[in-house]
């Protein structure tokens, strides 16, 4: 996915800025999630924190890998074969794909309330197998589709949470996950049809999804305005 950039040339690198925003948000949520776990000692709260810590890790790998690939193609290609930089980027790509899927698996465990280890192992194995297959065959279409399906499951739960709570914060979380799901679907489409425009749109949606979470965090940090 990192190694198979399909966006317009002028957009190369701009996606890093979007991922940096996502990284900051993920780290803040992971921090609060860990605090919640320290209070309650509930496994679910720990899984929630781990999910966002993993998302932070996958965004860090993305942020490092994109300039690495850029440097490789700008200065070394095709002089060094296989380039050390490219191998480094491939490792980061591998980490990126697995941490993304693993993060969504943890979120699914949170929302489904599954605590039976054999069920978790079965789901995790299946998703890992699909991710590994996507990595080996470089089927980024498959990888993004799997993530869209995993996110769709989370959307179902945050939507129900919004219906139950009817709060603005719950609404913003729901909107964010919806946008992220659609962005992965569009990205899958983009990789399947080699569409530059789809890559661009998917990242714009990702940005809006992160912005929605950012607004929610600002509300949490500074509280609701009194009418």
């Amino acid at each position: 996915m990192i190694l198979d950039f399909r966006g317009p040339n002028w957009f190369f690198g701009a996606d890093i800025v979007i991922q940096i925003l996502g990284l900051i948000i993920s780290l803040v949520i992971a921090y609060y999630g860990y605090k919640l776990y320290k209070i309650t000692s509930r496994k679910i709260d720990l899984y929630f924190s781990i999910a966002f810590a993993l998302l932070s890790l996958d965004l860090i790998t993305y942020i490092i890998a994109v300039p690495t690939v850029f440097l490789y193609y700008a200065y070394y290609y095709p002089a060094v074969q296989p380039g050390v930089l490219l191998t480094f980027a491939q490792i980061l790509n591998f980490v990126y794909m697995f941490t993304t899927s693993l993060a969504f698996i943890f979120l699914i465990m949170v929302y489904s309330g599954i605590e039976r280890k054999n069920v978790i192992a079965l789901i995790a194995s299946l998703i890992f197998a699909l991710t590994a297959y996507s990595y080996i065959t470089r089927s980024y279409f498959g990888f993004n589709l799997i993530n869209a399906l995993l996110l769709a499951f989370i959307v179902f739960h945050v939507y129900n949470n919004f219906l139950a709570k009817k709060s603005k914060s719950a609404f913003l979380v729901m909107v964010s996950f919806m946008l992220l799901t659609i962005s992965y679907l569009i990205l899958a489409y983009g990789f399947y049809f080699s569409s530059n425009l789809a890559y661009l749109f998917s990242h714009i949606l990702q940005f809006l999804g992160y912005a929605s979470l950012l607004i929610m965090l600002i509300r949490v940090k500074y509280g609701r305005k009194k009418k």
């Binding site: 309650t40 709570k165 929610m216």
Partner: protein, 89 residues
Amino acid sequence: MAERRNKFEIICDILSLIQRQGKIKPTHILYKGNLSYDRMKSYITELEGKGMIQEIKEKDKSFYIITEKGARLVEESKKIKELRDAFGL
């Protein structure tokens, strides 16, 4: 009918109660916190273990006071609660 409180809410309620009172007897936590004896005992043990409350003795009577760590948690609990509710945890 009021919704059942979850563990996070009960912990925050106990800490807020102790903070408001300054120092409090275990029996007061029991009825003001609306808890059974066994549940109150397990929460008190857990909060003591986490360094959020502290037991003090005065004239052979046992009281609980909130620690700095516990007071910080009360302050942050609103933010954490909002985040928890937003994600439906």
